[in-house]
Subunit: 202 residues, 2 copies
């Protein structure tokens, strides 16, 4: 029973922290929605801050593990780069509230939540590693790997944040899933095209 209470608190915590922010999500509301008693957050996580850390840890660990798996696939760099883009799209389809979990804090001028940092570092290392491999093999042009990794993540995360609002701006009536597929392909194609070795490069 305790394990499933813990699970329910993590789920409800993720939902409420992402929609209301850390400060806006009350322990009373989390425990009520998780069908747990008021002391359950303290019992399982020490405090509301402990639950928030545990939620961030789970969400961003999952993402980092999936990105590392995609980056380590036995495929040429272009294929691995495309897999990383797909992995990010699949992740945000699975956990659409993931960006909100830290965006709310950033949007109010706060710091990047500390539990997220090690996972973002792992993502950066995995993605840059694929770019670097491609450059060493002569398949990709010279371009700072960390900056290319930023470009990949920026476009994917911004689509996770803005995707469902884009039709209001574009007037495009493509259904959401199809738009996500088109965007996933576009981002991968754009990166691959940008990384094509140019003739005037050594």
């Amino acid at each position: 029973m305790n394990d499933s209470t813990r699970e329910r608190l993590l789920e409800t915590g993720r939902k409420l922290f992402s929609s209301n922010g850390f400060r806006g999500a009350a322990v009373r509301e989390i425990t009520r929605e998780a069908n747990a008693n008021l002391g359950a957050v303290t019992y399982h996580f020490g405090s509301k801050a402990g639950l928030y850390r545990a939620v961030l840890d789970r969400v961003f660990r999952t993402l980092a593990e999936r990105i590392e798996a995609a980056a380590a696939e036995p495929a040429p760099p272009e294929g691995r780069l495309r897999r990383i883009v797909s992995t990010l799209f699949a992740f945000f389809a699975d956990v659409p509230d993931a960006p909100q979990l830290f965006l709310r804090e950033l949007a109010s001028g706060g710091a990047l939540p500390e539990p997220v940092v090690p996972y973002l570092r792992r993502n950066l290392a995995a993605i840059s590693g694929v770019i670097r491999d491609g450059q060493e093999q002569g398949a990709f042009r010279t371009m700072a790997p960390q900056l290319v990794a930023f470009s990949l993540v920026a476009q994917t995360v911004w689509f996770a944040v803005m995707g469902r609002h884009l039709h209001i701006v574009t007037g495009d009536t493509t259904p959401p899933e199809q738009l996500a597929l088109a965007m996933e392909r576009h981002i991968a194609d754009l990166l691959v095209a940008a990384l094509q070795p140019s003739e005037d490069q050594p």
Copy 2:
């Protein structure tokens, strides 16, 4: 005197809406910080919602006008594309809290604030227009102009949001202004490289 009260309310409103969100910014706090009487928001803007609309209108109208000016410069498409990227970077250096103004609402699952929409449409039209010109002149490869415009904006906005936190992830100690310059150049170079006509394309 009234004009300067109006100006101070717009300034203070922008500051407090971006740091606390629309709901989190109280009229009492706005008027106090703007050194105005409690009725000034109603007098000048009808309501807090009216002030919020006026703040968004001013910020995003300025951005749209600057992007349209950059897009209309008498220069080849590549130069205009680079100018648009610089314009966005300059704008976010001037008004660093601009993304927060609507990000907070998006981050809590809200809609894109309605006053922002016409300006985002103008930005999209201006940027896509430059891509289309380049494609018609054979200077850019075929790639959906709206999606390329999304890639440009996504990277720039995401840097405006994340830029000051990146060093925590990258361990890079480049001073903020230099990092912004490097990123500006990278985003422009990446887009130009991606748009290079490929040999196997008609």
